[in-house]
């Protein structure tokens, strides 16, 4: 027998039986393929992205602002509406400079005000309260929109936000809190003739000021 031929035959002989080798290769291929491809729902990824650390959560921010900042500070910070109306008639610009806030630039400014009076009318859209000075104002019960609740206190700093969508969402969430927590009680209790005290947010245009038909977004009311 030729020893060289024997060595070649031995060299060609696989270390493992062929079926076992194929099975291992198949398992290895399956393992790599399985770990190379991930399929997840797009909606899950979007939701995870929104909830990721650092992503702004307007509902939480608004709830925290409402509970921890606005409600505790409002009674002390709010300007008496009767006094404000007199100041606006006496020196409009001084009154705006002293009492108004706005996160944006322009003529639209917001006041955090308080007052008391007698309910003289109710409608689908508002509760009319007549102040001790005889001036009627409206507490909104239907059209609770805009930035008054967000801006009136001046407690939110615009530099906290790097996009306007977050700002807008905070306004929407605060208005939603008012719709759910303030309006139902106000509508239920406000009957003509009842005495009412209120804290609210008031929007006024500094360049085109009208104080004869004021609508206030209510923040807190009490009989």
């Amino acid at each position: 027998m030729n020893p060289t031929t024997d060595r070649r035959k031995m060299a060609r002989k696989p270390l493992l039986p062929r079926p076992l080798l194929y099975a291992i290769e198949l398992a290895l291929f399956g393992f790599i393929a399985y770990n190379s491809l991930y399929i997840r729902k797009l909606s899950d990824i979007k939701a995870a992205g929104t909830a990721a650390a650092g992503a702004f959560q307007a509902p939480q921010y608004a709830r925290s602002f409402w509970t921890s900042k606005l409600l505790p500070a409002a009674p002390g910070m709010a300007t008496d509406l009767g006094t404000l109306l007199i100041s606006l008639k006496t020196d409009k610009d001084k009154a705006f400079a002293a009492h108004s806030h706005a996160m944006g630039i322009g003529n639209i400014r917001y006041f955090l005000i308080k007052g008391e009076g007698t309910v003289t009318a109710t409608s689908d859209n508002d509760v009319t309260v007549t102040l001790p000075t005889g001036e009627p104002i409206h507490l909104a019960t239907e059209f609770v929109f805009g930035n008054a609740a967000r801006d009136a206190s001046g407690l939110i700093n615009i530099t906290e936000f790097d996009n306007t969508t977050d700002l807008n969402n905070v306004s929407a969430e605060l208005n939603d809190i008012i719709r759910k927590q303030v309006i139902p009680g106000l509508k239920a209790s406000a009957k003509p003739g009842t005495k009412l005290s209120f804290i609210g947010a008031l929007e006024l245009n500094q360049a085109h000021l009208h104080t004869n038909d004021l609508t206030v977004i209510p923040i807190r009311t009490a009989l």
């Binding site: 929109f145 530099t159 936000f161 996009n163 700002l167 306004s171 085109h208």
Partner: protein, 329 residues
């Protein structure tokens, strides 16, 4: 070792000039330093005003207001017209960089396409203050001074709901679908109107902020929906086009038209009770604020809000008298 020392001595003699020449050199350096310092004090600083287009009067007002305010603050200014072309805008930005401008007041051509141009200026150490239109990137521009389109349309939405007494059918004519302002306006409007199930939007279509296109769009909408009660348009040009279509269809008195911008022809139409309401923007305020912010930046201020909203005022048939005294005939 000795030869090495000799070589060093020779080299030293070659490099070091005699004492007289050294004194002259110091004088020249000192003089040129003083000269360049006095140059930087005496030479006026410069602001570049780069606007998307000067074919639209709105942007002409924006550019001229920004330049005028910058001049008032003591700056040289130059207005560049990007002709709605981001490549041309890139050329203007490069020009501003190499020409030694100190700040750019930019009305971006494209919310996404202009980001690279803003970044180029930023990398060159040039602050950019965006006016009216935003770029979709935080931290690229130093600040962006923008119309509060969303809140303006919240106010319009509220007036719309009150005007229709919370029920009816309406159509919406959108602006350019790729423009952020289009969607901010639409979202603000719908954030109010969609809360009222009695109000049904039966059609929504883009007319690219164009008056003639809006007329065509509403004409075809009216064929499918002849009984609508109102039209909400993303700008005043489209509101005027929509009104023309309603006049042609004999429905001008039956359908309320709402616009956005505060353009003269719409303000006059509100006065004449042809159009219901608009949201009045203020290009002057945006431009002046951008120039003042740039001035503050040059003087050392660094803490700017990324986006600064400029209030949009609701103008209706009820308060139009407040605004007609400004410019209208």
């Amino acid at each position: 070792m000795n030869s090495l020392l000799h070589l060093l001595q020779l080299t030293f003699r070659k490099v070091v000039p005699p004492p007289g020449a050294l004194g002259l050199f110091c004088c020249i350096v000192l003089f040129s330093a003083c000269h360049s310092a006095s140059d930087s004090v005496n030479t006026p600083k410069k602001m570049a005003v780069i606007v998307s287009t000067l074919n639209n009067p709105w942007f002409v007002v924006l550019a001229e207001s920004a330049a005028a305010e910058a001049k008032l603050l003591g700056y040289e200014t130059k207005i560049f017209d990007s002709q709605n072309n981001t490549a041309l805008e890139a050329d203007h930005v490069e020009n501003a960089i190499v020409s030694g401008f100190n700040a750019i007041l930019l009305n971006p051509t494209d919310s996404d396409g202009s980001i690279v141009n803003v970044m180029k200026a930023k990398e060159a150490g040039l602050p950019v203050f965006c006016m009216d239109r935003e770029v979709n990137a935080s931290g690229a521009a130093t600040a962006q001074i923008l119309s509060d389109n969303y809140s303006g349309c919240v106010a319009i939405g509220e007036d719309f709901v009150k005007g229709l007494n919370k029920k009816g059918t309406y159509v919406e004519i959108l602006g350019l679908v790729g423009d952020n302002n289009t969607w901010n306006r639409s979202k603000g409007f719908h954030s109010v109107v969609d809360r009222y199930p009695g109000l049904k939007m039966v059609a929504q279509q883009s007319a690219d902020f164009d008056r003639n296109k809006a007329m065509d769009v509403l004409e075809s909408m009216l064929q499918a929906h002849p009984d609508i009660n109102a039209v909400f348009c993303g700008n005043d040009a489209m509101a005027m086009g929509a009104y023309q279509a309603l006049v042609a269809a004999g429905k001008a008195s039956d359908v309320g038209v709402y616009g956005f911008d505060g353009a003269d022809d719409v303000m006059n139409s509100i006065r004449d009770r042809k159009i219901k309401a608009t949201g009045m923007q203020s290009p002057q305020v945006m431009a002046q604020t951008a120039a003042r912010y740039a001035d503050a930046y040059i003087k050392g201020k660094r803490d700017f809000a990324q986006r600064v909203p400029v209030a949009v005022e609701l103008v209706t048939q009820k308060n139009i008298a407040d605004y007609l005294t400004l410019t209208r005939p």
